[in-house]
């Protein structure tokens, strides 16, 4: 009496929907037609909306599987490599991940809403597990934040046309564009302004 056959059907429909969604999204990206997904799963559109009331709920469900794999890999890296290298290797993985399915990964990484399937929290735990040691080791800036890594990574993934460009952008980001930290002229007190967020626009600053 605990599990009804009707429930089994619902469960089966959910699985069909999810499988179809993975296929269609892989082909068409995160804006794929929901009706098409329902059609390919062999159910009516209403059934899709019953299981996934909003598009992001469906995307999050697809995203979860990949996220699990990403966490496993993070553990492996934390054990196999020195902290700094582990973090960088994982960032590389994160970028590859964000580039799959026409940017579904990046979209899910950046979206703060859809708290129901909170991928963001899981991601944060994993990232902190790698970031902390790397910072203590001194191979990475101490003021780095989880959000910094996610945003820089997602940005690179969205802007890069292919994995080669992505790798290039990652290396630039790790090493920085500047050659030195000296502000051209004498020692203005402006060296540290970078960390404070907004900086005065250079308007009347002539010659």
């Amino acid at each position: 009496m605990q599990t009804r056959s009707i429930r089994a059907d619902a469960r089966r429909n959910r699985d069909l929907l999810l499988a179809a969604a993975m296929d269609v999204i892989a082909e068409e990206g995160p804006n794929a037609s929901l009706n098409e997904i329902a059609r390919r799963a062999g159910v009516g559109p209403g059934t899709l909306y019953r299981h996934f009331p909003a598009r992001d709920a469906l995307l999050a469900a697809v995203f979860e599987g990949r996220l699990a794999r990403l966490c496993t890999r993070a553990e492996e890296m934390a054990e196999a490599l020195p902290p700094g290298e582990a973090l960088i290797a994982w960032l590389r993985l994160l970028i590859a991940h964000a580039m799959t399915d026409h940017g579904l990964g990046a979209r899910m990484m950046l979206t703060t809403s859809s708290a129901e399937a909170d991928c963001s929290a899981t991601l944060r735990d994993v990232a902190d597990r790698l970031l902390g040691p790397a910072q203590r080791e001194g191979s990475v800036r101490a003021d780095l934040d989880f959000a910094d890594l996610v945003e820089l990574t997602a940005g690179i993934a969205q802007a890069a046309a292919d994995p080669v460009r992505a790798e290039r952008l990652l290396m630039l980001t790790l090493d920085g564009l500047r050659t030195a930290a000296e502000p051209t002229a004498g020692a203005l007190g402006a060296v540290e302004t970078g960390t404070t967020g907004r900086v005065a626009t250079p308007r009347q600053e002539r010659e």
Copy 2:
């Protein structure tokens, strides 16, 4: 006999369309409804398609105005500031630009197609005008490319939720995430690999 009144009408419709597009895109972003734009311009949808056969053509037209301003500012900065500072100030401007209209700027900066209104070429000229001097001065990496700047900039704009986050990400990108260039263990010859683009994947990394 050179200019017909009919032409004046066509011209006027184009202007109406463009003005409406600027409004609607500012409100709804680059995926705004084309029918809605035509409606607000007071013309039929067919007229819109006559003047702008593809969505990107319309977006490019909207983009052109802002691009012109961006070029003017670049000239001003090149004259008023030392090369390194001018480049950075302009990058900041580029990011702000890429964040307007719900990401229209970033989309146009990254899209290589739609060669008709080649914003990309204009942008490239301006960027090179600032990048070259900054590199000769030595304040910025010598191997930096125009594409690097555009992609990093567009990536930051797309990933940042607000201008404060964007400024933070820009500063991180300028200075780099790493604290030092030493590869953890002894002096492998790997210090310079960052500049070569693709780097060997860390051994057993599959998938």
